[in-house]
Every structure is written in structure tokens, then in C-alpha cells.
């Protein structure tokens, strides 16, 4: 399956990160590009997109809000400038991730306390319970899919509860996540448009319900919040709910999935973590580095020469934090996954002012999910008769992890 742009002819000059081949072979593609002396790949697809590959370049762009706007954090076939409904910079459609300075800092400051460590730590007991219940549900089968039966559920249930959305709609949320983040290269047809409308109307309905029936959750918090002496616009509330729901789901789902996939494929690491539970936090940081799920995007504000390439106003620029995390110039043996790595300045949660606001939540979920899985399944391996599949688009993680369970508690 290719995107509307057809098969990729050359990854340096015609790459397509919406093509399943990209996430399936991502480390090989980056290594080949770097080996061929190409630190910034380009494609005409999506109206023109750049892909810088080194930590230094990714770091520089993430910090340079003068030349690079966050108005389009996810590359799409239509640029914000081509979309009559786009909300202009510095606010953007999904603040604060889509916002630029100076608006960004205020919109972000509103949300930060809800995601600070002291708010998140108390949720850990709930996470333990949830992870154990997911494993209980698997019964005593010898084969399970750790993505479909475990990793994909954990972040959805937590974020839905934080927002105040019905937990039983989790399947809907995952479909919308795929619509927005996975199917970026799909044909823009009526069916797709109808799904976007359905998502938007669903959220409007639940936001309206919170207006009538305030609750102790993030939607009510946003409805009461004030910015510059005024209530947030309905657009702002809607956009931030979209952001928290979408960003809170398949990012962490991917991180948990990649960690379990690694542990299924690396028995030595798995045994060490089973025997030394206290090593899990450090190992999780290494999984975050080596399998960082999230690539963000920026938009070039005006024509710019950038390290030898001519970027045009409105070009997309991908910020592949996962590639930065595998840069030999920044990390010794960058392509080796080493759970003993103690010095680990990885950029899995981004760099600069847009650092992932949910990073404390994601870390807690990852640590608990890995710990409980290893506790309940001290021995498991990939099931060779079935295939591991990976997501498409800017968030990378396994969507199927077929396992054979070899020991359980």
C-alpha cells in the first residue's frame, strides 16, 4: 500500500514518511541516507517536505522559532496556507502544540500544572491495576497480541478519564488517531471528510455536555480557564481537547509496544529486567531513546538557506527526534540498544519550548506497563508464525506484537 503519491523512487529526494515502508525500515533508511552524505533529505510530496537527520540540525530547528512555525505539527497534503479553515499562527488549530511565541507560552502555562509530576504520580496505582486487569483478561492462552491486548489500551483509558470522555469509546478514539496521524497519505475523499466531521461533532457534543454538567476533569478545567483575562475561545478548548486526546494515545501506545517488542526479541535484556526490577526506569529511558515514537513538523516561515539547502516559505520540515536519538555524534554506539546506558540526553519528548507536556504521564505509563508485563510474563518470545506490523506516519510503534507466552505468574 502506497500513498496517493505512489511508490518512493529514492529516499533522499522523493521520501514519503506516510508510506508504510518508511516506518518498517526506518533505521536502515536513515543509515543509508547518512552514509550517502545526505544530512537533509527532501521530497516534493505533501507540497514539499524536508527531513533533517542529525541531532544538531533537529536541535537547531526545534529552537529556531523565528524561522520555523509550529502551525502544522503534522504533515498533511494541504498546508495550513491552502486550507481556508486553518487557524492562523501564532495560535494554530491545536494549541499549544500548534502555537508560536509569544502566544505559545501562555497557552502552555495553563496546561502545565495538570501534567506536573506531583499530579501524575498518584495515577500510578490506577495504572498498575489497569495493566494487571488487561493481563487477567488474556486468560491462560499461550499466544497473545501485546499491542492489541495490552499496549494500545493503557494510554487511552488514562487520557479519556483525565479529559472526562467515556472509556467505552476507546475504539473510536483509536480510529480517529489513525485518521489524523496514520492515514496522512490516503486519498482525501468523502469518507475521510465524514470521519473528520464525526470526530469534531463528537467532541463538540461532549464539550457542550461539560458546559451543562461541570465535572472534575480537564474539559471542565479548560472551559473555566482564562487567558489574558478572558475565557478560552470555543475553538481553543476544542483544539486543546483534540491535542490531548490524539497526542496522549498512540505516542505512549507506541512507546510501550516498542519496549515489549524489544524485550520479546532480546532475551538477555528481558531476563536482566525480570531479575532486577530496579533497572527498569533506566532501561525505559534507553527504549525511549532507541525507539522514540514521535516526529514533529514545522513550517518554514519565509525562504531560507539552511545548511546548504534552499528552503521555501511554507515548506514542511520534519523534526525526527528518533533520528536525532540515533546520531553517533551525540550518543556513543547510537544504533545499539544498551540498557546499561547511564548518560542519556535523548530527545524522545522533543527539545525546546514544545517539550511534550505529557512526558511525566507517558514515563509513568511506560514504567508501570513494562514492570507489570515482566512480572506477569517473565518469559515470552515473538510468535514466528505471525507478523509484527508497524504504524505509518509521524508516530512509530508496533500495531501487532504476536507473542508466545513461555512463563506466567
Amino acid at each position: 500500500m502506497t500513498t496517493v503519491y505512489g511508490p518512493v523512487t529514492d529516499w533522499a529526494t522523493d521520501f514519503d514518511h506516510g508510506d508504510p515502508e518508511y516506518n518498517n525500515n526506518i533505521h536502515e533508511i536513515w543509515s543509508n541516507l547518512k552514509a550517502s552524505g545526505c544530512p537533509i533529505a527532501h521530497t516534493d510530496r505533501y507540497g514539499g517536505t524536508w527531513l533533517p537527520l542529525t541531532h544538531e540540525l533537529v536541535h537547531e530547528i526545534a529552537y529556531d522559532t523565528d524561522h520555523f512555525s509550529s502551525q502544522g505539527p503534522v504533515v498533511q497534503q494541504l498546508k495550513p496556507s491552502q486550507n481556508p479553515d486553518a487557524i492562523p499562527a501564532p495560535v494554530g488549530a491545536v494549541p499549544p502544540i500548534s502555537s508560536d511565541p509569544p502566544f505559545h507560552a501562555d497557552a502552555r502555562r495553563l496546561l502545565l500544572p495538570a501534567f506536573a509530576p506531583k499530579q501524575i504520580d498518584p495515577l500510578r496505582s490506577k495504572m498498575y491495576k489497569m495493566c494487571n486487569e488487561l493481563i487477567d483478561k488474556m486468560g491462560d492462552r499461550d499466544t497473545v497480541d501485546a499491542a492489541l491486548e495490552y499496549s494500545q489500551h493503557i494510554p487511552v483509558l488514562i487520557i479519556a478519564e483525565m479529559l472526562g470522555l467515556p472509556l467505552e469509546d476507546a475504539d473510536k478514539f483509536r480510529n480517529w488517531v489513525n485518521l489524523i496521524l496514520g492515514a496522512i497519505g490516503a486519498e482525501r475523499n468523502e469518507e475521510r471528510l465524514a470521519m473528520f466531521m464525526e470526530f469534531s461533532e463528537y467532541l463538540d457534543r461532549h464539550i457542550a455536555d461539560h458546559v451543562d454538567n461541570p465535572k472534575d476533569d480537564l474539559i471542565t478545567f479548560l472551559l473555566n480557564a482564562e487567558l489574558h483575562g478572558q475565557k478560552l475561545s470555543p475553538q481553543h478548548v476544542h483544539g486543546t481537547v483534540v491535542l490531548i486526546l490524539i497526542a496522549g494515545i498512540d505516542t505512549t501506545w507506541s512507546g510501550i509496544g516498542s519496549s515489549i517488542w524489544h524485550l520479546a526479541s532480546n532475551p538477555v535484556d528481558r531476563r536482566r529486567l525480570v531479575e532486577n526490577k530496579e533497572m527498569i526506569p533506566q532501561a525505559v529511558e534507553e527504549f525511549l531513546r532507541a525507539y522514540a515514537p514521535v516526529t514533529m513538523a514545522r513550517i518554514v516561515k519565509e525562504d531560507l538557506e539552511f545548511h546548504g539547502v534552499e528552503m521555501k516559505q511554507d515548506d514542511w520540515v520534519l523534526l525526527p527526534f528518533p533520528a536525532a536519538n540515533r546520531d553517533e555524534a551525540q550518543f556513543e554506539n547510537a544504533n545499539e540498544v544498551d540498557i546499561d546506558r547511564t548518560e542519556n540526553r535523548h530527545a524522545a519528548f522533543g527539545l525546546g519550548i514544545h517539550r511534550c507536556i505529557g512526558s511525566n504521564l507517558a514515563r509513568a505509563e511506560l514504567n508501570v506497563a513494562v514492570e507489570v508485563f515482566l512480572e506477569r510474563f517473565p518469559d515470552f518470545e515473538l510468535n514466528p508464525t505471525e507478523e509484527v506490523t508497524w504504524s505509518t506516519g509521524q508516530v512509530r510503534g508496533p500495531r501487532n506484537i504476536p507473542l508466545r507466552i513461555l512463563a506466567r505468574k
Binding site: R109, L112, P113, F115, A116, P117, K118, P281, E285, T342, E343, N344, R345, H346, A347, F349, L351, G352, I353, R355, S359, N360, R363
Partner: protein, 81 residues
Amino acid sequence: MRHFDRDFLTPSLYSDRMRVHVDSSKCQGHNRCYALAPELFDVDDYGNAFELNEGVVPAGLEDKARLAAANCPEFAIIIED
């Protein structure tokens, strides 16, 4: 006892102790320092980190201070030996 001895040998009020400092203009709230060395760092409601005890690193926690600095994605932690 060893702790006491070390204090006894360095009575000149922390002058030769390691110090840590969070550069608040660089800190973006990754909270790695707080997770790795809560004895040395705390975070406010916005996730911004700051050093405890005026940055003086108690004897025996030097490695933790170095570890926290080596894990800050924004290079925001300064160590003065």
C-alpha cells in the same frame, strides 16, 4: 560514620563541595534531574526544575549530581566542582 568524618574534615562550610545549578533559561521541564536525584532537585507546578540546598551537593551524592546533569536533554544543569 564515614559521613561524619568527611564533614569533620571539611568544616569550612561547603566551600569545597560540589554545587549544581539549573539554568532556568534552558530548562524545559523534562524533569529528568528530579527523577534521578530528588535529593538535589525539585520541580515547581509548571515542571521547571530548581536546585535544593542552594545547590550544595551533600557528600556522597556527587555521582547523582553528575548523572542528573548527563541526562538533561537541554544541557540545563551546570556543575561546579
